[in-house]
Symmetry: C2
Subunit: 342 residues, 2 copies
């Protein structure tokens, strides 16, 4: 199939190709008659506009880059699902890139976005990333940049997150109200801001309720099912007394839960367990895993809406970056429910 261009349509109709271009773009100065003719000819010849050419010439690509750690994580695929939907409805295409938590990969992806002349970039930062020049360069080029969930600290960039502090607070408060007193918190290395915030919420809740903050109950490390199991094993080895665990995210919490059950510890009677993220499995396991819901769909929508505003705003620089903070929701299930009401 020969490539059809506006020149071919022009030849067909014996008019100039710029008239064709204008007709196809519904330019007001073109008569309805010619527009109709052009559209029919385009249809007949099976013409498709070349976005590469029009973007190159006009400087508008109507494409945005989305960078996430991994689509294999339901939280991210769910947010991308929401973003794609709204951006599409507004005429934008999505270039997708997964960092797989790697800094190098993230850098490469941002570079590809820049080379592709995207109209803007929405990103959630990789676990490994501690330097942010690649994000800074986006700003230098005056390209709209928006973070969701995982934010690069120190950069003045609009973002949509949930209130992780509040989430940490809610989870801990719930455990306290259920009568748990020695509450372990599993958290990751402190490079990722959201985990720091959850920790801060944990500490503040303890203090507000007059419980001591015991450093031996705060476990730093990683997050994964295995790490959760490992933490419980260590606590038992070191004979640390505890009666509840608040894990930074659900898979880790699930590991904790499994290891406790393996040790024949009764959950929630002896030990309570709560996670973070409200992954779908939490409702299906036994006992149900209490968690903090991260509002993935509202987050995707809020991110897309805010981003559209950024794309439309003339002076990105002068508009101070907005930070939308969504409220996390406490989800109580069997793993922490040992009192009739919380």
């Amino acid at each position: 199939m020969k490539k059809v261009t506006i020149q071919d349509i022009a030849k067909e109709l014996n008019i100039s190709f710029s008239t064709v271009a204008r007709a196809l773009n519904d330019h007001p100065a073109i008569s309805e008659a010619t527009k109709k003719l052009v559209r029919e000819a385009a249809q007949k010849l099976n013409y498709r506009q070349n976005k590469l050419a029009s973007s190159l010439r006009s400087g508008h690509s109507y494409t945005i880059g989305i960078m996430v750690p991994s689509l294999g994580v339901s939280f991210f695929s769910s947010v991308v699902h929401g973003i794609e939907k709204i951006m599409n409805e507004n005429g934008y295409s999505i270039l997708l890139y997964q960092s797989n938590e790697s800094y190098e990969s993230e850098k490469k992806g941002i570079e590809t976005f820049l080379n592709s002349r995207v109209a803007g970039i929405i990103a959630s930062v990789a676990k490994e990333t501690t330097q942010y020049e690649h994000f800074f360069e986006i700003q230098k080029r005056n390209i709209p940049l928006l973070f969701f969930d995982r934010v690069a600290e120190g950069l003045q960039v609009p973002a949509v997150t949930i209130d992780d502090y509040k989430g940490g607070f809610l989870a801990t408060e719930h455990l306290i109200r259920q009568g748990y007193k020695r509450i372990v918190h599993i958290t990751a290395g402190q490079t990722i801001g959201i985990f720091k915030e959850r920790l801060r919420g944990y500490v503040d809740a303890l203090q507000l309720y007059g419980l001591p903050v015991d450093k031996s109950l705060i476990l730093y490390g990683d997050f994964s099912l295995d790490f959760g199991r490992q933490c419980v094993q260590e606590l038992y080895q070191k004979k640390v007394a505890f009666d509840a665990v608040f894990a930074l995210e659900d898979f880790t919490a699930m590991g904790v839960l499994q290891q406790l059950l393996d040790y024949k510890v009764r959950v929630p009677e002896e030990v309570g367990v709560i996670g973070f993220a409200n992954e779908s499995f939490g409702a299906l396991v036994t006992p149900g895993l209490s968690s903090i819901d991260q509002q993935t769909v509202p987050m995707g929508e809020a991110a897309a809406e805010l981003f559209l505003k950024m794309l439309r705003s003339e002076d990105l620089y002068n508009n101070l970056p907005k930070h939308i903070v969504l409220d996390p929701h406490l989800i109580v299930r069997g793993s922490t429910e040992r009192l009739a009401s919380s």
Copy 2:
């Protein structure tokens, strides 16, 4: 920040811009000395190649379009995860589009892909779609097209799917070998081909092992957790005797499992339950839910690998379309394991 082009680099070094272009593309005819100079100048000026221009000129976009029903479904996001990874490693960018199961939306997305001059398209067809001209047009333009999981019937297009017949057979055979005799199969209305195949596998396994095919044990309807519960309720109401359930997918199986446990039926001792899809929660629930793994990661990888071959092949037309059928894997967990070995 002013846009930097190869012209700027050329001016900086007092050489022609075509030499710069060649140097940046590592053209063999350029001396190492100039290459080095050019690369340094590019770095210094913060040059970024304009992919729009190079793609327009060269006719190669190194971008592929991926069309899926929804990233909100873990099966699809998981496959996209795999495809993106491999295509990225091979230097391709991903344009992503969700049909949200709508025919119109799918058509629009394919059009966008065509306008963006993608090098190829990987798609899984929307539930609503029954006409396939938009896919046919991709082929007319000699652009590589590949389906995964959901195939447009009647088109000669390479595809990657799993063997759903075999999956149904494996699940049923496993139950039989575990000594279950009256095996219920829950299936959906027979419009979707994959469910028909699973049913066929179920029937054939029964017959091969000399068990009767009892119509009262085949339940037609829908798929969801609630539907699974409903099925069990009905079976009890109608006093249908059964000792195992093979559900068309995991959420339905989970509903069955929950309802059985609510009825104080012992699983797997009294009744065995197996699902299909191997959703992540299956390993986390108690008892673990046996299932048929759909090989999402291999499917993504196989799709990407086959697609790369298509992209490289000179004569798409003459190479007969391949159909890769992946083997489903039986995953045995607590919900069906009542004998020491299967």
